[in-house]
């Protein structure tokens, strides 16, 4: 009985380790296998109660206009590279997975407002120490470029954020 109890406790601890490993692997998977792209973004600086300061990144394709999608629905956003610059842009979001090309997999997360929904693709937060987050906000106030790695299944991970001018050089 006691041995079973100890085994149970060790399994419970194992579950915690497995969850931590799962969160870690989910985070690094796109960094390991993904293709690097650059997306135009606008940072603002809030603070998360548990994870500290971060710059919240907004994208043009973060808002869906006039869609029937509900919170929790999965959305696929085909990505198109601009011919004249190094930036990538989002195409028309769709409910089915694209068969070819690079795309982002997101989830409708917000309530409908101004005739649109918010979609999160997992690349909306850049965590940084407080001073750096504030400096980033000042430096990148007007426009910036998010460096993102996108895995073949559409899962994306944010690598860093750069000033737009640097990107155009």
């Amino acid at each position: 009985m006691k041995r079973c109890h100890v085994m149970g406790l060790m399994v419970a601890l194992g579950l915690q380790v497995a969850v931590m490993a799962g969160v870690f692997l989910g985070g690094v998977y796109p960094l390991w296998v993904g293709e690097e792209i650059r997306l135009e973004t606008r940072p603002v600086d809030p603070r998360d109660l548990f994870r500290g300061n971060y710059a919240r990144l907004g994208y043009d394709f973060s808002t869906l206009k006039a869609s029937d999608l509900r919170p929790g629905d999965v959305v696929y956003l085909p990505l198109e590279k601009q011919s004249d610059e190094a930036l990538w842009r989002g195409g028309e979001p769709q409910a089915t997975e694209p068969e070819t090309g690079l795309y982002l997999r997101g989830r409708v997360s917000g309530q409908p407002w101004s005739a649109g929904n918010t979609v999160k693709y997992g690349i909306e937060a850049l965590f940084a120490p407080k001073e750096k987050a504030l400096a980033l906000e000042r430096q990148l106030r007007d426009s910036a470029v998010a460096v993102v790695r996108v895995a073949p299944n559409g899962k994306a991970a944010l690598v860093t954020v750069e000033a737009k001018a640097m990107n155009n050089e």
């Binding site: 579950l15 998360d48 548990f50 994870r51 500290g52 997360s109 999160k120 693709y121 407080k130 991970a157």
Partner: protein, 449 residues
């Protein structure tokens, strides 16, 4: 209702003083205290103070860990930061498990391990900029603590799990109905029963009520998000009746912790009932409520009706509580149906304003009757809480009606006169009953002599 059982510390110190003064013997003191699951030598005061202080200290250490993680130590390599916190989590949990297995202790270490585990999830999210859906992190945190809390039967871990799950419910509840709360509520409820913890049971009940309200919000929200409507009041009326039934069932239990939690739930359900009565005694509030109801098709009605019918069946089958409140609980399903029939059928039955007027008069009379019953019950059964609740209710009612002039000056005056007549009638009735009791006692005494 064992309200005195909620004041065990005060009872112990009083009894000790009576023993010192020679009013009662030590054995008598212990026999009195045994009714409340304690004794003269109970050192729970000292150990409780120790436990509370240590728990708060552990909580502060946990908050310190979270703040240290939040500070974002970019200069330290990612792997070192992450492995450091994961190793800390494993070490704290292993120390806790060892302490639990060897001495039956260690929940403090496991509590710290639980916080460190949550901090590790947040740190990984921070390092890899995982900002996709932050409630997921809280969910994984609560999920990881749940089996440990259940296996160790630790109230502290169960409270940590429930607190994190509650935060998750609030965050996730904006996007989808938080169904997984049933798991966390189940685990916390099981720990409360296995650890005989009345306090944890109360927290579980409070979170359960919030969860049910949120789920009803999703039914109203039509898939886009939760909406809070007038029908929520109908649900909460039913839940109050259910809590009343639970409190009286628990008060009859053999288990002291159930009796204590039953007393507290009974008190809070009474307060909730009085609050609802006071809110509905305002014409504008009642009119708004009746206007917003969706009639008999209102999901709030059916949820409230289900709870009220369960409560009715419970109080009738087990004969719980005294006759007045029991009758109220039994009538509640019909009251709810009536309210929704009037409120929702604005087009079918016509004027909601007239219905609201009748409704408010009925609520005010019910409040008056409730106050009288509370005062009488308080005096008859020696329950101070009931007595003063009745007094406060009657005074508040008078003050509010004097200020809001329901039915203008003449209407309000008429209502005060009716109220005075009801009060006077109740006082006369009670006095006659007391006289009859005194006469029958005297007759019984003469018969014996």
């Amino acid at each position: 209702m064992q309200l005195l059982g909620l004041l065990r510390r005060e009872l112990r110190s009083e009894c000790r003083q009576w023993v010192v003064d020679g009013d009662i013997s030590e054995e008598q003191g212990n026999r009195i205290l045994a009714r409340y699951d304690t004794h003269l030598d109970d050192d729970a005061d000292g150990s409780l103070a120790y436990k509370v202080l240590v728990t708060v200290a552990l909580l502060f250490v946990g908050l310190a860990i979270l703040l240290l993680v939040s500070a974002n130590w970019e200069d330290i390599p990612r792997a070192v930061r992450m492995l450091g916190l994961i190793a800390t989590t494993i070490t704290l949990n292993l120390i806790g498990i060892r302490g639990h297995v060897k001495q039956g202790e260690g929940s403090g270490w496991l509590f710290l391990g639980g916080i460190s585990y949550g901090a590790s999830i947040m740190l990984i999210a921070q390092i890899y900029h995982l900002g996709e859906h932050f409630p997921d992190g809280l969910f994984y945190w609560a999920l990881g603590v749940a089996p440990m809390a259940w296996l160790v039967r630790s109230r502290l871990l169960a409270l940590l799990m429930l607190a994190v799950a509650f935060l998750w419910m609030g965050a996730q509840g904006q996007y989808t109905p938080p169904w997984a709360m049933v798991l966390f509520l189940g685990v916390a409820g099981a720990v409360a029963l296995r650890a005989h913890s009345g306090g944890l049971l109360l927290v579980v009940i409070a979170v359960l009520v919030s969860w049910l309200n949120l789920l009803l919000g999703w039914v109203y929200g039509d898939g886009w998000g939760p909406d809070f409507e007038a029908g929520h009041l109908s649900l909460n009326m039913g839940l109050l009746a259910l809590l009343y039934a639970f409190s009286h069932w628990a008060a009859q239990s053999e288990a002291h912790y159930l009796r204590r939690s039953g007393s507290l739930v009974g008190l809070w359900s009474l307060r909730g009932y009085l609050l609802l009565l006071l809110m509905f005694s305002f014409r504008e509030f009642s009119e708004g409520y009746l206007h917003e109801l969706v009639g008999l098709a209102d999901p709030g009605l059916w949820a409230g009706l289900l709870a009220a019918m369960l409560a009715s069946a419970w109080v009738v089958v087990r004969r719980l509580g005294s006759s007045g409140p029991r009758l109220l609980v039994m009538l509640l399903p019909f009251v709810l149906l009536g309210i929704h029939a009037f409120g929702g059928a604005e087009t079918a039955l016509g004027d909601v304003e007239a219905a609201a007027w009748l409704f408010v008069v009925a609520v005010n009379l019910l409040a008056l009757l409730s106050a009288i019953v509370l005062i009488q019950e308080g005096l008859k059964r020696g329950l101070t809480q009931y007595f003063y609740s009745g007094i406060v209710l009657i005074l508040l009612l008078a003050l509010m009606r004097y200020l809001d002039l329901f039915g203008d000056y003449l209407g309000a005056a008429a209502m005060f006169l009716v109220a005075a007549a009801v009060l006077y009638g109740a006082a006369r009735f009670w006095r006659r009953q007391q006289n009859q009791e005194a006469v029958s006692k005297t007759a019984a005494g003469e018969g014996q002599s």
